[in-house]
């Protein structure tokens, strides 16, 4: 299973190699999709490709190291009632998660999304919703 997690930690823990620790202990690579650091906290979105029990183990390791962990069921969602299939979002999507498919209708391949957020701003009718 592919799990996506949102990690929040205070800068006091930034220098601790928590991720490497979790990778070592679980033996599973953790893919960083997105990382932001603000004055008060660090926010990271990561992806783990592993069995459910391994994923919960990783979550346990992170939590015991003061990292706030939230599972993200999905990233972006297209509001089909609003979307006009212009395709403006496709040009700014770095991973081709958004493309125009059959009959020029917008197709979202969620597995490809890295939550960069480009599509949110580029959509003129605000049809892309960030799943938080």
């Amino acid at each position: 299973m592919k799990a996506r997690l949102e990690l929040r930690y205070s800068p006091a823990h930034v220098n601790k190699p928590i991720l490497s620790k979790a990778i070592l202990e679980s033996g599973v690579p953790i893919n960083i999709l997105n990382a932001r650091l603000t004055a008060t906290e660090g926010i990271m979105t990561v992806e783990v490709n592993a069995d459910e029990n391994v994923v919960s183990k990783i979550i346990g390791i992170l939590r015991s190291n003061n990292v706030e962990v939230k599972e993200i069921p999905r990233y972006v969602e297209i509001n089909r009632d609003k979307c006009i299939d212009c395709g403006a979002c496709t040009a700014v999507c770095p991973t081709d998660a958004l493309t125009l498919g059959l009959e020029r209708k917008l197709v979202l391949e969620e597995e490809k999304c890295i939550l960069c957020g480009n599509c949110l701003k580029s959509c003129p009718v605000r049809a892309v919703v960030l799943y938080k």
Binding site: I84, V92, K105
Partner: protein, 510 residues
């Protein structure tokens, strides 16, 4: 004039009898390619076109009816979006790009129009100065489109024949009316429906004209005349259109916001083209690969932006365009899927006999050209405002030495130059403070090497905008050889604005 194939009267008779042959422009292109133009033009009576794009020059005249006691509104708002009130007491015009005084560009006139057409409730607020015949000074109420006496969509410029494609050579993301343009030619934004484009499919403006009945916003509209900035010689024709908003459909009128650009209205426009002669048929059969536009670098702050290359709508619609030695993603701001739906809907109306073609009462002007605004007042240039012979330094200079000179000269910015006085970097008081903290000794250890500059002939408000974009307070002024001529700072600009009350020039043809 080509030999006549059929007249509009004959077509309308066939519509009445129910045996008219109608194809969308896409279908007609295919038929002409498979069966030949000759046969296609004999078989098909009408070709329907469509476009669905952001059309900023759109809006609606509204009549609110009189309150009791009545008010002569000099200012009015719908959901906090200002309505133009330089008209009679309760007449107003809501423009697509007007925006909410409380929500900003996220909610604008385009959204007001969509909400009206959707039958939603809106808050109307009005103010007046009170007269003997209109004693009331304030009004606040809730209205829907059904309460209005008239709601007429009147768009001064719609349905550009074709439109430019945009890219961005700079290192900064640009937010434009052609969408988000990523840095370093990261993508291409374009607009227009190519082989479905209503005005391109009758590009010699032979069949359409003043009074032509069209599909507008899901209802019926009429061409009032040439649109603003109409420029037929360059195949940049436009039309001014009007139609009863009360009978339109929110599916084809959508409020929108371009991030960091503004609010607007997506409008569905479709025009039926009667295939009256071979030239009209030939134009209507033009495929995407023969419809060209130009890719323009929107990072250049001028109306005369450099053209990078010509490109066909076929290439644009493929989503991948070659630019130099790279392939760049292209995306449309207008919706092709919706453009097809407009053309299909219009086709259905004609086949069902509910839409008849009209003969225009006069043709559109073909000689008009698009002019630019004359700038007849002197505009302050960088050269006039910059400080000449500014304090400069060399990369090897010691930080202590330079900081002393900065204090003595009372300056915050020091351009760093080589022996030929060519710009190689810049240091600010902030850099000096940082240098002390990290124990740096010479300028080259701390200077910023990528310097944002100004040219002497640039106007001051372009440079002001550049400072704002990069969040900086001073720019070295350099000549063509990158030699430092002067320095211009935000302090210099605010001195000027105090005496002038200047602003920032914004260009917006969309």
């Amino acid at each position: 004039m080509d030999e006549s194939l059929r007249t509009i009267g004959q077509i309308n008779n066939k519509i009445a009898k129910g045996d008219v042959v109608v194809l969308t422009a896409e279908e007609f292109v295919k038929l002409a390619e498979s069966s030949g133009l000759e046969r296609a033009s004999r078989e098909v009576d009408v070709v329907t076109t469509g476009t669905f794009g952001a059309m900023c020059s759109s809006g609606a005249f509204l009549n609110f009816g009189h309150a009791d006691p009545p008010i002569k509104m000099t200012k009015a708002w719908l959901n906090d979006v200002p309505v133009y009130k330089g008209l009679a007491a309760v007449d107003g015009y809501i423009g697509a790009t007007a925006f909410s005084e409380t929500k900003g560009i996220d909610y604008g006139g385009g959204h007001v129009i969509e909400d009206l057409v959707s039958g939603r409730e809106l808050i109307l607020r009005g103010e007046g100065y009170g007269t003997d015949c209109y004693p009331r000074k304030h009004v606040e109420t809730v209205i829907t489109i059904h309460d209005l006496n008239q709601a007429v969509l009147v768009n001064p410029r719609n349905a550009y024949q074709r439109y430019f494609a945009a890219t961005n050579s700079s290192e900064r993301t640009l937010y434009t009316y052609l969408g988000t343009l990523l840095p370093n030619y990261g993508n291409i934004g374009y607009s227009g429906s190519g082989e479905l484009s209503p005005l391109y499919k009758d590009r010699d403006l032979e069949t359409l004209g003043i009074g032509s009945r069209i599909f507008l916003g899901g209802g019926i509209g009429y061409i009032m005349g040439e649109g603003t900035q109409h420029y037929p010689a360059k195949y940049l024709s436009t039309i001014m259109v009007a139609g009863d908003l009360k009978k339109m459909n929110p599916r084809f009128l959508r409020g929108a916001t371009f991030y960091k650009y503004g609010s607007t209205l997506y409008v569905g426009v479709g025009i039926p083209i009667p295939i009256v002669n071979m030239n009209v048929a030939r134009n209507a059969a033009t495929p995407d690969r023969e419809i060209y536009t130009e890719i323009i670098d929107y990072s250049v702050p001028s109306v005369n932006r450099p053209i990078l290359r010509r490109v066909s709508y076929e290439e644009l619609k493929s989503g991948k365009v070659g630019l130099g030695d790279r392939t760049v993603k292209a995306a449309s701001m207008s919706s092709l899927r919706m453009a097809v739906e407009v053309a299909e809907t219009l086709k259905k109306w004609i086949l069902e006999g509910v839409f008849k073609l009209s003969r225009p009462v006069a043709p559109l002007n073909k000689d008009v050209v698009q002019k630019t605004m004359p700038l007849r007042r002197p505009e302050p240039k960088v050269a006039e405002l910059m400080r000449k012979n500014p304090l400069t330094a060399n990369p090897k200079d010691s930080i202590r030495d330079v900081s002393e000179r900065m204090v003595r000269g009372n300056v915050d910015h020091v351009p760093v130059v080589d022996e030929q006085n060519r710009l190689v970097g810049i240091v600010t008081t902030w850099d000096i403070a940082k240098a002390v903290a990290i124990n740096a000794r010479t300028l080259e250890e701390i200077m910023t090497r990528k310097v944002i500059v100004a040219k002497p002939q640039e106007t001051v408000d372009i440079v002001a905008k550049r400072m704002e974009q990069h969040d900086i307070t001073g720019l070295p002024v350099v000549d063509e050889e990158n030699r430092v001529l002067g320095l211009i700072t935000s302090a210099d600009l605010s001195r000027l604005l105090k005496t002038q009350g200047g602003g920032v020039v914004v260009e917006g043809p969309a």
